[in-house]
Symmetry: C2
Subunit: 492 residues, 2 copies
C-alpha cells in the first residue's frame, strides 16, 4: 500500500474537498456529466463546484470553464467523466494544475481487454508521475457524509452516519447504501473502488481504520492482490472496529465470473476463510447481512460467549430461533435456578421453565421488559434474542374495522387508538433503555419499519433465522477480541 502519511493527507482532500472540478460536466440530461453533477449540487455539497466543458459557458447554472487550467482557484478534487481516450490529456492538465486527488468515473479500461489495460497503465503512470491520488478508473463514485459530497452514479441519497464502505463492485456497493437506508444504517464514507488502478482496497481500508468518523468498515471483495498488505491492515483495523466483509467468488463459477468482472483472482476459499478469521474479520453470508450486522453492532456490544437466551411471545418463534441458533453454532443458555424462579413469579405456572422463555400469551409489555432484564442478569446468558419485540401498537386494522362498522362512538375508538399508541411508545422507550444500559447484546426481532421502534432507533430484524446468524458472527468477533486482548495482556 501507499505511504501512510502521504495517503492520509491526500485522503483528506478526497473526502473533504473544498473545491471540486467536474471534468465532462454537461447540460445533456442523460449523461453522467449531468446526472452526477445534478446529484452533487442537489444533495447540498458544502464546497465549490467548477464544471469543466469547452463547449458550454454554464452548466446547471454554474459558470463552466473550458479546461481545469482555466479555473482561477486551486482545485482539491477532480471528478472525470470524459471518454477514455481523453483521460490521459485530462490527467496531464490536472497534474499541471497540481490537483492532489482525482476520481475517474470513466470506464473502458482494464475491464474491456488488452487495449483498455494499456490505457489504464498509461493513466496510472500519469497520475503517479503527477503525484495525483486516483480513485478508479471505472468507479461508480464516492459519498462523504460530513461534506454532503455525493458523486455516485446510482440515484441514491444515502443515510448519513458512521459506517465506512469499500466496494469492489459499484452495483453491490450501492445496494448496501440502499439496504442501509431501508434498515437505518447511516454511512460516513463510501467508495466504489473500480479497477483499483492506483488506490487499492488496502489503502481505503487503512484510512477507514484510523478515521475516527468511521465506526465500522463494510466491504464487498472479489479479489486481493497476491502479496498485498490486506491481512496486516485488516488485523489492525479489527482491533478497533468491526470489519464486515462479503466475499464474491467463493465457488469456481463465482470466481470465473469475478475474473471476467474485475479480473480478480479468487484464490482458495477455505484458506481465505481461515485467514479472515485469524485477522478478526467478520464474514457475512449476504449483502443484507453486511448491513444488518453493521446496524446491530452500532449500538450493541459483542457477546462475551455464545450462550444465548431467547425471549418470545409465541412458542413457535422460540422453536424456530432455537433451531437457527444451534445450526449457527450457538448454544442455548441453561438458565440459572434463580432466573427460573424469578421469571416464574411473572408468568403462569405452566410456562416452559427454561430457555426459550415463552411468555405464553402474557401480553403485558411490562412483564416482557421484566423477563428481559432477568435474563440479562443471568450469568449463564451471554446474549439475548428478543422475539416479538414490536410494541403491539398494531391496532390499525382493528381501528379500521371499528370505524367501518360505525357501531361505536368515534370518541371511544379514538381513545382506544390513543391508549394503544401510548402503551406502545412506553414499551419502545423501556426496551430502548434496557438495551442502552446492558453490556450484553440484545437483538430484537419483529416486524420491520412498521411502527414506533423504527422512529426511536431500535433495530428490528424481520426474521429470527437472520438474528441467529448475526449473533453467531458477533460472538465470533467477541471471541477474537477476547483472544486478542489476552494476547496483549500476555505480552504486556
Amino acid at each position: 500500500m501507499k505511504d501512510k502519511q502521504w495517503l492520509k493527507a491526500r485522503m483528506e482532500k478526497l473526502w473533504h474537498p473544498r473545491r471540486v472540478a467536474m471534468i465532462g460536466a454537461t447540460n445533456s440530461l442523460m449523461k453522467w456529466g449531468f446526472l452526477i453533477l445534478a446529484r452533487m449540487l442537489g444533495e447540498g455539497f458544502a464546497g465549490e463546484v467548477y464544471p469543466i466543458n469547452p463547449r458550454e459557458s454554464s452548466v446547471l447554472g454554474r459558470r463552466a470553464y473550458p479546461d481545469i487550467l482555466a479555473v482561477p482557484d486551486p482545485i482539491d478534487l477532480a471528478i472525470i467523466v470524459t471518454p477514455g481516450p481523453t483521460v490521459p490529456a485530462v490527467l496531464r492538465e490536472c497534474g499541471a494544475k497540481k490537483v492532489p486527488a482525482a476520481i475517474v468515473i470513466t470506464s473502458g479500461f482494464s475491464e474491456v481487454g488488452p487495449e483498455g489495460r494499456a490505457l489504464e497503465a498509461e493513466i496510472v503512470a500519469l497520475a503517479r508521475s503527477a503525484d495525483i491520488m486516483m480513485v478508479g478508473p471505472n468507479t461508480m463514485g464516492i459519498f462523504s457524509a460530513e461534506d454532503r459530497l455525493n458523486c455516485l452514479m446510482a440515484p441514491i441519497s444515502p443515510l448519513p452516519g458512521r459506517a465506512g464502505c469499500i466496494a469492489q463492485s459499484g452495483n453491490v456497493g450501492t445496494h448496501m447504501l440502499f439496504s442501509g437506508k431501508m434498515r437505518g444504517l447511516g454511512f460516513g464514507k463510501f467508495v466504489s473502488s473500480g479497477n483499483e488502478g492506483d488506490l487499492t482496497f488496502e489503502d481505503y481500508l487503512w484510512y477507514f481504520g484510523q478515521d475516527p468518523a468511521i465506526n465500522a468498515v463494510l466491504a464487498y471483495v472479489e479479489g486481493l492482490e497476491p502479496g498485498s498488505d490486506f491481512m496486516a491492515v485488516a488485523a489492525e483495523v479489527t482491533k478497533h472496529k468491526p470489519l464486515i466483509l462479503y466475499k464474491g467468488g467463493r465457488t469456481g463459477a463465482g470466481a470465473r465470473a469475478a475474473a471476467s468482472h474485475t479480473g480478480a483472482l479468487a484464490g482458495d476459499s477455505l484458506l481465505f476463510t481461515r485467514a479472515m478469521k485469524q485477522a478478526g474479520v467478520i464474514l457475512a453470508d449476504s449483502n443484507k447481512e453486511v448491513v444488518e450486522l453493521a446496524r446491530a453492532m452500532e449500538f450493541q456490544p459483542v457477546p462475551r460467549g455464545n450462550r444465548i437466551g431467547i425471549l418470545t411471545r409465541g412458542g413457535g418463534w422460540g422453536v424456530i430461533t432455537a433451531d437457527a441458533c444451534v445450526e449457527a453454532g450457538l448454544n442455548i443458555a441453561e438458565l440459572s435456578p434463580q432466573t427460573i424462579d424469578r421469571i416464574g413469579r411473572l408468568l403462569p405456572p405452566y410456562w416452559s421453565h427454561g430457555n426459550p422463555v415463552d411468555m405464553v400469551a402474557v401480553i403485558s409489555n411490562q412483564a416482557y421488559i421484566d423477563c428481559l432484564q432477568i435474563m440479562i442478569a443471568d450469568p449463564n446468558v451471554d446474549a439475548i434474542i428478543a422475539l416479538g419485540a414490536n410494541s403491539g401498537a398494531h391496532v390499525a386494522t382493528t381501528v379500521q374495522s371499528l370505524r367501518r362498522l360505525q357501531a361505536m362512538p368515534e370518541a371511544n375508538i379514538a381513545a382506544f387508538e390513543r391508549e394503544a399508541q401510548t402503551e406502545a411508545l412506553g414499551f419502545v422507550r423501556a426496551l430502548k433503555e434496557v438495551i442502552r444500559q446492558t453490556t450484553k447484546p440484545v437483538l430484537t426481532v419483529g416486524r420491520w419499519v412498521e411502527s414506533k421502534e423504527w422512529e426511536e432507533g431500535i433495530m428490528m430484524i424481520p426474521e429470527p433465522e437472520d438474528a441467529a446468524s448475526m449473533m453467531a458472527k458477533m460472538a465470533g468477533y467477541g471471541r477474537y477480541l477476547n483472544g486478542a486482548e489476552k494476547d496483549r495482556q500476555k505480552r504486556a
Copy 2:
C-alpha cells in the same frame, strides 16, 4: 385421519359458513370476544353473525343471544372464546343445536399441563360424540378469503388469493400472512391448527390438496403424530400442487422447545428430511422462504433441470449469484455457441462471452429483454435468474435534486420524469410478457416494493442469495415431478 366424505362436508361448513355464532362475544374493548368479532364484521364477512353473551343484549350493534340454543336460525359454525372451564358446557349446547363445526380459540388445555390435558380430552370426546368437527383448542383462528371470513386473533387483514396455509403455531402462521401481504402473496384459506385435539394437520392438508381454490399449500410443522397418514396424504397433494413446509424442532434445542410448546415429538431430523423429499415436499429454510417460494411458484413453472442462466446489469451481482447458485446445488448453464453469438450482437465486444451474462453498462431495457429471451431459448438453460430487473424508474432522487437546484425550467424536469416513467412501465410490461409466455421459470431480483413492478404483479426478490436458494428448491420439486411422471408412465 377422518373419513374423507364426512370431512369434506364439514370443512365446507367451516370455510364457507352462512351463519356463525360467536360464543363469548363482548363489548369489552380489550377482550378477544370483542377484537375477533370486530375484525370479522369489519372485514366484511358475507354471512350472518350471532353474538352469544348472557350479559349483553347487543354486541357491536348486533343483537346478542344468551346462549346458542336461543338463536332462532341454524348455525354452521361456532367460534368459542369463553374461558376453558366453560367450554364443555358450551360444546354440549352446540351439540344440542346440531352445530357441525366449531373453532375453539380458548387456551388453557393440553399446553398448560395435566389438568388442561384432561379438560382437552373431555372437550374432544364431547365434540366427537356430538358430531362436531373442532378446530383447536388453543388456535389463533382461521381466514377464508372467498367468504371474507377473518376470525384471527392477530390484527391482520390478509391479501386474498389462492395459497392455503396450515400452521402448528399461530404466531409463525400469522407471520406468513403478514409476510405474504408484504410480498404480494394472497391466501385463500389459513388455519392455526392449535392443539389439534380433534382435527389434525393431515385433515387440513388433505382438504387443501383437493380444494380447487387452493393452488399451493404452505405449512409450519412442529411435530406429526407417530403413525399418521401425513406421508401418504402429502405424496398425493404434491402430485397436483406444491407443498412448502417449514419444520420447527430440527435440532435438539428446537425439539425441546417444541415439546414444551405443542408437546410434539420431533423425531429424527435426517429421516424426516429424506421422507419429505420422497413425498415431493419442498422444505423451506425460513418463514420468509415459504412465502417467497409460494409467490414465485404461483406464476412460474418448475424448472426441468438445474442449469441456471444468470442475467445481470452489474458484474458483482453476477458473481454473488453464481456463488449462491453453486452453493445451493445448482449448475451454472454453459451457454450454446449460438446464444453467445446472438448476445454478442447486442453487447459491447468485451462482454463476458459466457454465463453470467453481464450487460456491462448497457442500460438499454430493450437489450435486457432481448438477452433474456435469447437465454430462455437456449436448450442448455433450464431456468433464469434475472438481476437488476427493476425498471430503472428510480429517477426520484435526480428529479428531487433538479427541483432543489432550480437551474432548469420545471417543464423540462417534468418531461424528464415523464419520459423515465413511460420507459419504466414499458420495460415492466415487456418483462411481464416474457415471463408469462415462457415455459422456463424466470426469478426476478431487484429492489422490492419500489416501483411499477409491484403494481404490475411482477415479484421482485430483494436478495440474489434468496433467489438461488428458491430456485434450487423449485428444481428439486421439478425433479420429483419428472420422476413421478416417469413412474406413472412406466406403470401405464
